[in-house]
């Protein structure tokens, strides 16, 4: 009966999906049996006891045994089905502790995914294969619903609150993510692609910090230059808590007008501010500290991806 399952259900992307399918098919066959128990007598009685003028019908008002039977048996059946459903639900509801956490922010009408290392993607979710992933979701406007048919999971995303859902993908490749709670004009176009990567692919994906940066480097959008990408890093990676971009002094040197100029270091030497120096300062900040400043900057090794460093370099270069 595998063909029938295939006919009715989408591809199975996880062990959980298999369980749901088993349950679905179980209920399906049960329903078929119960349906025939109702439909066959309906048709059969209509034919077998069809109208004959003058036939006197028996005056059967009730049969207590029969009625108790068909009250109690369905009740027992229902109790069994409830617990069956509860079992699957518990699995759905409780994420394993070691699950990787991905933040989802839904908005009319797109999905933003944010990974533990801060990488972000839009409408493009990558997860490693055979590792549980937990999604912590919130919405910026109205209620949306994160629905991955292949994983058989779905949960509403509610503004002003966090909701959670998880799955453990076992099938390599692409799956559909759709919004299942009506959210207006673009509701039916609110799709995203879930790509289940193997470990190497996922590591590569994380290394480049998602795919969003590509938009800033491919030159398609004049509003998205590498310098803009750097500005985003400046604001989100915490650079702005110590470095200003307007020339004023803070805990660290300002970035305004330093690129291409010599600066004096606290060991008395001078250095030209170029891409190499900037990269070194981000990854090994205490190697060359500018005169008049404490060596307090933490290393950003591992926190900044190559494209982000490039972006920051371009951003600083643009601050003339």
């Amino acid at each position: 009966m595998e063909w029938l399952r295939r006919l009715m259900m989408p591809a199975q992307g996880s062990e959980f999906a298999k369980e749901i399918d088993n349950m679905y098919m179980g209920l399906f066959w049960l329903s078929v049996v119960l349906f025939l128990m109702i439909a066959i007598p309906t048709v059969y009685f209509a034919w077998r006891y069809r109208y004959r003028p003058g036939r006197v019908t028996p005056h059967n008002t009730h049969n207590t045994t029969l009625e108790i039977t068909w009250t109690v048996l369905p009740l027992l059946l229902c109790v069994a089905i409830f617990f069956w459903g509860l079992k699957g639900w518990m699995e759905y509801a409780v994420a394993p502790g070691e699950a990787m956490e991905v933040q989802i922010t839904a908005k009319k009408w797109l999905w933003q995914f944010e990974y533990p290392d801060g990488s972000r993607t839009i409408n493009d979710l990558h997860v490693p294969i055979n590792k549980p992933v937990k999604f912590i979701m919130t919405s910026e406007d109205v209620i949306h619903d994160f629905f991955v048919p292949d994983m058989r999971v779905k949960h509403d995303i509610i503004p002003g609150r966090y909701t959670e859902v998880w799955f453990n993908p076992t099938v390599h490749g692409q799956h559909v993510i759709t919004c299942a709670e009506y959210c207006g004009k673009g509701h039916s176009d609110m799709h995203a692609v879930l790509t289940v990567d193997n470990d190497a692919e996922f590591a590569k994906f994380l290394e480049t910090g998602g795919t969003e940066w590509e938009d800033y480097f491919n030159g398609k959008d004049p509003k998205k230059t590498p310098a803009d990408w750097g500005k985003v890093q400046y604001e989100t990676k915490g650079c702005n808590s110590c470095h200003t971009i307007d020339g004023s002094k803070s805990k660290g040197p300002t970035w305004k007008g330093i690129y291409g100029h010599m600066v004096e270091l606290n060991n008395g030497t001078s250095v030209l501010v170029d891409d190499d120096y900037l990269r070194e300062s981000m990854l090994y900040p205490n190697a060359k500290v500018v005169k008049g400043f404490e060596p307090i900057m933490p290393t950003f090794q591992g926190l900044l991806k190559e494209n982000q460093i490039k972006g920051l370099q371009a951003f600083i270069k643009s601050l003339q």
């Binding site: 006891y49 004959r52 509801a93």
Partner: protein, 550 residues
Amino acid sequence: MDQAIKTTPRIGDRPRPRKNYLNETRGFKSWAFTLDHKRIGIMYLIGVLFSFLLGGIFALLVRLTLLSPTHKIFGQVLLTAEQYNRVFTLHGAIMVFLFIIPAIPASLGNFVLPLMLGAKDVAFPRLNLFSFYLWLTGALMALTAMVFGAVDTGWTFYTPYSTTTDGPVTLMTAAVFVLGFSSIFTGLNFIATVHKLRAPGMGWFDLPLFIWGIYSTAVIQVLATPVLGITLVLLMLERSFGIGIFDPRIGGDPVLFQHFFWFYSHPAVYIMILPGMAIISELIPTFSQKTIFGYRAIAYSSVSLALVSFIVWGHHMFVAGQSQLATVVFSALTFLVAIPSGVKVFNWLGTMYQGNIKLDTPMLYAMSFLVLFAIGGLTGIFLGTLATDVHLTDTYFVVAHFHYVMMGSTVTAFIGGLHYWWPKMTGRMYSEKWGRVGCLLWNVGFNMTFLTQFFLGSKGMPRRYYNYLDQFQPLHAFSTVGSWIIGLGLFITAAYLLASLRKPADAPDNPWNGTTLEWQTSSPPITHNFEEQPVLEREPYDYRPVVAAR
């Protein structure tokens, strides 16, 4: 028929009285200010059928739009996404609030209930007329909202979408508020009528089962609808003043809105289905010419369905962000609904067993009900079960499920009941042959349209989608074709029913050999229903020959 008359004691095919409720008085005023429950019932009937037509047109538009993923008909885009959202909202809101909820209780119920009780009228005739005008006001407000661009919230008005979207949402919710009060007053009227205006000799367990169904419905109408009223008021205030209860932006909780909404709207589902079941409980014994099997079981199951319907509303919110515990509790309680529904179905089958079954049009609809309701009910199990619901909720599976229950069951019963009481209401018999054709088309079209949608849903097609993935196209097209067959069937039904009105009155007082009191008066009934106060001498559905009874 001759033989049948001999076997039952109370067919009064007396000469047709010259004056009946239709021709007693004439003129617009005699209808507009009538206090006669039969005339009010007829006015309701015209109103709800008009709403059904309107809602049906929107349904056909929705299906037509979904025929292809490009939405192009003869090279033209039929509806844009915004228009589509408005059209499915209108379809839902009109069908639910203007059609299904008042359909059976307010139209057929209004007409038949006092007749069945052997009463001259409902308890509060003026209130009855008032609720009709409330319905009319609500309907006009909804139409006005439609003219002013209509709303795109879905009939559920979920916040915060409904508090932030454009369009005359406030007017639309006000319309639903007014319609709610119409429903409340109808229910209130019926409860009082059933309590106090039963014919002499009619105890609670001598009530026809139709009355039990309508009574249970009325209980829900009175207890649940006020909460809808206050929910809509809160929604309007939230939208206009930002009171901070439903919109998270100003500190509210959107899930609380869903609690409020479903506290009414789940019981409202039973406002829709219970009267349908009530009609079936009349049709099956009448056309089986056999006493109902398990009278008390059916009566109790109606009442228990009404009561249980109040404690299961959370099953609409399994994945909507309510607490895990609440979800589990609501799922467990939801299964309770299955029991009385099953009991009813088995009892109906028990009634047909060894009957003398005449396959007239109303009985065909009753049998369709059994089959369609079985599908609707059984697919409900998939949705009540926690784990499978996660996958199926908010998809076309749900759409198909509730159409099987609301349309396949309630509307089927409504049409069956309309055919059943048509001779009583109008004094005319309709074409039996065309009746059967209509019923056949209804069944074929309905199953084509909605059985398909179960597959769409389980495959992962979310509901309320304008665009869809290409893989769903064949099923959508099939479903759309089915909707045209439904439309054709209903068109034929409307045509032969209207055609029957052109004939002179030809219906006998008791064309189906029914045993309930409404068949004891003339067709159509006289203004005060009965020449003399009928007295219940035997329990209802007693088909034993008179000799045996005495």
